[in-house]
Amino acid sequence: MTLVERIDQAPLLLQRWAVSFFPALLQPWVAMLISAAAIIGVFASLFALSTLAERKGLGRIQNRPGPNRVGPFGMLQPLADGIKMLIKEDIVPLRADKVLHFLAPIALIVPSLLVYSVLPIGRNLIAMQCQLGVLLFFAIGASTELSIFMAGWGSHNKYSLLGSIRAIAQMISYELPMVLAAVTVILATSSLDTVNIVEAQAGGFWAWHAFTPWGAIALLTFFICALAESNRAPFDLPEAESELIAGHLTEYSGFKYALFFMAEYLGMMAISGMAITLFLGGWQAPLPILNFIPSWMWFFGKLACFVVLFIWIRGTLPRLRADQLMNLAWKFLLPIALLNIGLAGLWVKSSGWIAWPISVILLGLAIVGLGRLLRGSRPRGGKRIYRYAD
């Protein structure tokens, strides 16, 4: 094993080394526990980092420095936030459904962490290689809706209720185009196994699915749906602070709120991770000569790009309205995703280059046409010209 490979496989080697101290009977269990602990540790600290990045980034977008008091450059701000959250009073509304109110954050955080088990973080670095990885990801992800419902309903608050109704409607609607966008990749690689999918994109960035016509559109669809699924701006309607105050989060405080917050970021990173896995080559380096950089660094680098994109979009865009959100999902993304599946099939069957012009033309037509349709749902669209009174 060369040094490069050693560094690449360092987490795995560490795990093996730790496991070797235990009797053989316990070893698989210990290995599993270590993987789980590693996932929780790594992604929880990534969560902390991304909250800092978000606050700093939003600050810079808004021409202010962001948090800069705790520690050098405010680096310890997440720690301070965490301590604050922990020691804050946990308030439960008097007439809340106490059980549901309590269970909701827990029921949310568990699936949010569970989905990481099928994300290949690096070469051979996956907690659970499973031939149904992608399906597992979506199946577990689907159950987060229930916990948001529990939070909204259990809080005994009209805003929470409205927020959770919106959240459910939104998540159901956007799950569909998201899964359909993922189906294109499954179609192309004929595998549901995330490891296989990543390996199918080896060789360089031109082999990544994002660099095919269907892949690009599927990535875009997937990304928009990811924004909606993780309730991020401009689709943060469930918590829409200017309308519903904070939706299902209104009645949460202290550590439970922190759990929701954490679940939001974990969900965001998990979906970004899935997008990377499906479309952007996972842990693969963009050029073969860059292989000396450890694979997991590529994964985390791509993940960081996604997080930055999320923050950037959040700092820029206003929020959509609930019905516009639904229209976007059902009238725009869904047809495009369906068309895209067909094109992916064509791509697979026609072995490449012939599919390019057809795909580009069809997708271009579809996007323009559906875009018109979407605009047409408003009374008047487009640029306006203003007159001056005499």
Binding site: Q62, D236, S242, P318, R319, R387
Partner: protein, 380 residues
Amino acid sequence: MIPGVSIEEKTDPLQGQILEVSMGPHHPSTHGVFRMDVKLDGERIVSLKPVFGYLHRNHEKIAEDVSYLGSIPYTDRLDYLCSLTNNWAYCLAVEKLSGFEIPERAEYIRVIVGELTRLVNHTCLMGFFVQDLGAMGTPLMYAFREREKILDLFEGLTGARMMCNYMRFGGVRCDLPVGWIDEVKKVIAAFPRFLDEFESLLTQNEILIARAQGVGVLSKELAINAGITGPCLRASGVGHDLRKVDAYSIYSRFDFKVPIGAHGDCYDRFMIRLLEMRESLKILDQAIAALPSGQIIDPKAKSRGLRPKAGEAYGRIEAPKGELGFYLISEGGPSPYRYRVRPPSLINLTVLEDMCLGGTVADAIATLGSIDIVLGEVDR
């Protein structure tokens, strides 16, 4: 069972249930302590009643107790974003009541600070409006960044950033400090860059267009009949601007235009303000170029111990939010017998329900944001 949600069964069996939501007074987007009693069918608004008065301090009664001069600082606190135009309107009414002349220089200074106030108000409003549409405060921060520069100017001139208390009957309180005009020139020169930035950030943004166009439509007829004034009226297509209609002060000397909209929706109200700012910049350029020297206050006029003869006067100006009028009845005493503010914010709220019915909660928030109210003025 959803506890706490009061349900009003409607007689129409095809309708869904009605959810009553009380938005405010502690709500992030009600622009102060303002409440909307909203009845929702699903997310659609079937009834919306504005409720206010939480900030009511009976400004008019206070003014009947203090001297004419003593009311000026209170007018600062009406629409606390544009204290200078409030001063102006009040002084105008008193001047009409007692017949003071205003020196040239004072008129020019008034126009300069008045138009700067308009810039302050419109930048703020646009930031708030986009904030209400859910943008994470970014446009608001840009707007505040520019506003601070103008507030610095106010600080240099009047000594306070927001509660300026600057105008006096028959003129202004103090003359321009040395170098102030140059600073104004600098700020004005940099301002179009900000407007361009704002436009490219927002005006073509699909989400903003989707959220604002066709939302909160106010028809021309209703706007006139309901006494809507200011940018809201002009967005509905009525070219009514007191700077042109009354041509009070010296506005007739300036070359500027009054932008009007055609649709009367939130987007038009937003754009009209943007265009108005550009016109204000034009006025400022002209006023600064033509600023004469001379007195700043009518020597006949006295501020302290003013006792106008019995009579009454209604003075109005085009404040950034609309027609701001002061109606004064004097009985010859040291304080007005009756002092009345015609607050544009309050009257512009009259049609809030009409504009919001049938829309969603999000639309109502956008509409409220586009009307531009300040609760200090609504409640007085």
